[in-house]
């Protein structure tokens, strides 16, 4: 019984940490997206600079932001996420 509980705790601890990482990622994603879009995009259209033909605000916010998020997601999943078993140990199913 004791063993099962500590094992549960360990798995839940991992799960809680990963859920928190999800929230942090979404915040980074949002700040990046909002910052570049409205930071650069609020200027007059005549003063826009362009990257690969796209307005700079759009390139940084939507294109580069997308690429950065992919890299961050791959990094967190590969290095911060842990494998856990979802099944109950034998004899302990309800």
């Amino acid at each position: 019984m004791k063993k099962r509980e500590s094992q549960q705790d360990k798995r839940f601890k991992i799960a809680h940490r990963e859920a928190l990482i999800g929230i942090i990622l979404v915040l980074i994603n949002f700040i990046w997206w909002y910052g570049f879009a409205y930071g650069l995009g609020s200027a007059k259209v005549e003063q826009y600079s362009y990257i690969f033909g796209l307005p700079a605000w759009f390139f940084y916010s939507c294109i580069l932001g997308f690429i950065v998020m992919i890299i961050l997601v791959i990094f967190t999943v590969k290095f911060l996420f842990k494998d856990v078993s979802f099944e109950e140990e034998e004899g302990e199913t309800k």
Binding site: R11, F12, I14, A15, H16, E18, A19, I21, G22, I23, L25, V26, N29, F30, W33, Y34, A37, Y38, G41, S42, V45, E46, Y48, Y50, F52, G53, L54, P55, W57, F58, S61, C62, I63, G65, F66, M69, I70, V73, I74, V77, K78, F81, K82, D83, V84, S85, F86, E87, E88, T93, K94
Partner: protein, 483 residues
């Protein structure tokens, strides 16, 4: 009829049929019919999991409606659409391992099973089942109509015939194949959606003479088309940002998405799905909406937004390629409808029939009931789609935000906050749905935010306050559950 366009579509339908028949083998020989039919025996690997989430989420609006709006609003609408990137990783990370472990402990097959075990309340179960059935039924009808219109416009068949062809093809594979057929066809459909987006994006950029040329054409027509504020300056930062709740993080509360977070095999599948899902959903949303904007100089003067994508495909692509690309929105619609169909059926069979009407039904009887309930729902939806009642149209407006307001907190706080109890859950659900409908009627887009924002916060407050106030009489129950 344009056979060059239709042939790829037909081949696509045949493949989908074949998958349904193949999945039926699993349904017939499975040990636990319910778990197989409604959850595919929790055997989804990473790629299938990612694709079924993306495909279920990506619907008619991602391929037809969205690009149409982007066409009129400009790059500001692409910015808004990119809020959906979060759905790729956020849902699986947040529901994540805890949901997978707990739903296995509870032996939950549906989202409602989870709520039932967590809150032990008949009111929660019945209210959830009712909201799923009512809201998803109406959004299914809406998607169905969209699918039929698309078939109608591509083939020139009359609406009724188009509807029957479309509905029949979806019904067959869902009824015989269950969740496994849905997930595998979703995967094929997800690939078609991805490929279709890529082909059309390249063809459109080429037809427009390259990106710099397209952007300067847009700026020459109306500079605001390339600003984040939209062609008519109507897209304020707070309004656009609130879509992060409606189509970003709030998606966690959609039952058709949440149920997928309990269907995967192991944590490796989940890890892969997070990566693949983020890439695919981001690419499709960015690509399709960008196509909508880029279509403007290529195809000026389109009046009805919904026709931009079909017209553009026919214009910039050779016919057979247009057929492949136009299979994408059809795939998007089918993969949304099939998920809703199996979910509504599970709510009726598993959550209502087996819980309260006939708990002791044998395996064969459950099988018969499941097949026939799925079929009957499908047929009723067809009848509704032939001449949609106003009520359905009205209800569909709420289905996305309404379901999110109902389910998000009972699911999330049910997982992560042990003090949450059934009183909190039911208050939060009722307030979530009630306030969504009321605010939408009387004060839409309150304080410059999308309608969904306020109800989400109200239902959170309702959940927390009620749970804390009812702690004493729940004390005993709570101790038992913690153990």
């Amino acid at each position: 009829m344009n056979w060059a366009v239709i042939t790829p579509l037909l081949i696509f339908l045949l493949i989908i049929f074949a998958v349904g028949m193949w999945s039926n083998k699993f349904v017939i020989k499975s040990h636990s019919f319910l778990e197989e039919y409604f959850l595919g025996e929790r055997q989804m690997g990473g790629f299938i999991l990612a694709m079924t989430m993306v495909a279920t989420y990506g619907s008619a609006s991602s391929f037809i409606g969205g690009p149409g709006i982007a066409y009129t609003k400009g790059l500001g609408w692409v910015l808004l659409a990119m809020a959906q990137l979060a759905t790729g990783y956020f849902t699986l990370m947040v529901l994540g391992k805890k949901f997978a472990i707990i739903s296995r402990q509870y032996k939950a097959i549906t989202l409602i099973d989870f709520l039932k075990e967590r809150y032990k309340s008949k009111a929660v179960v019945l209210f959830s089942a009712a909201s799923i059935i009512i809201f998803l039924f109406s959004s299914m009808t809406a998607q169905w109509i969209g699918g039929a219109r698309l078939v109608e416009s591509l083939t020139g068949l009359p609406y009724t015939t188009a509807l029957l062809i479309f509905a029949f093809s979806v019904l067959v594979f869902v009824i015989v194949g269950g969740f496994r057929a849905v997930a595998i066809t979703d995967t094929i459909q997800g690939v078609v959606m991805f490929g279709g987006t890529l082909i059309l994006l390249i063809a459109t950029i080429k037809a427009g003479g390259g990106i710099p040329r397209i952007i300067s054409d847009l700026a020459a027509e109306n500079p605001d088309l390339i600003s984040p504020f939209g062609a008519d300056q109507s897209l304020t930062p707070s309004f656009v940002s609130s879509f992060w709740i409606l189509v970003g993080v709030g998606v966690v509360g959609l039952p058709q998405i949440a149920v997928r977070a309990m269907s995967y095999k192991n944590s490796k599948a989940m890890h892969n799905a997070i990566i693949i899902g983020t890439i695919v959903v981001g690419f499709i949303m960015l690509g399709m909406h960008l196509i909508g904007v880029f279509a403007r100089p290529v195809l000026p003067g389109v009046k009805i937004g919904d026709t931009v994508m079909p017209l553009l495909s026919m214009k910039v692509l050779p016919p057979y390629a247009a057929g492949i690309v136009l299979a994408a929105p059809m795939a998007a619609i089918m993969s949304t409808v099939d998920a809703l169909l199996i979910l509504v059926s599970s709510a009726l069979v598993k959550d209502v029939y087996l819980n309260y009407i006939k708990p002791d039904a044998g395996n064969d009887q459950v099988k018969k009931v499941s097949f026939s309930v799925t079929a009957i729902i499908g047929i009723v939806v067809i009848l509704f789609s032939l001449s949609p009642p106003d009520l359905i149209v009205w209800l569909n407006l709420f289905s996305f935000g309404g379901l999110e307001s109902v389910f998000i907190w009972p699911v999330i706080l049910g997982l992560y906050w042990s003090k949450g109890n059934k009183y909190g859950a039911i208050t939060s659900m009722v307030i979530g749905m009630g306030s969504y409908i009321i605010i939408d009627q009387f004060y839409p887009n309150a304080f410059g935010f999308h309608t969904v924002v306020l109800p989400i916060f109200l239902s959170l407050a309702a959940f927390v306050v009620t749970s804390l106030f009812t702690q004493q009489n729940e004390g005993m129950m709570h101790v038992r559950m913690e153990k």
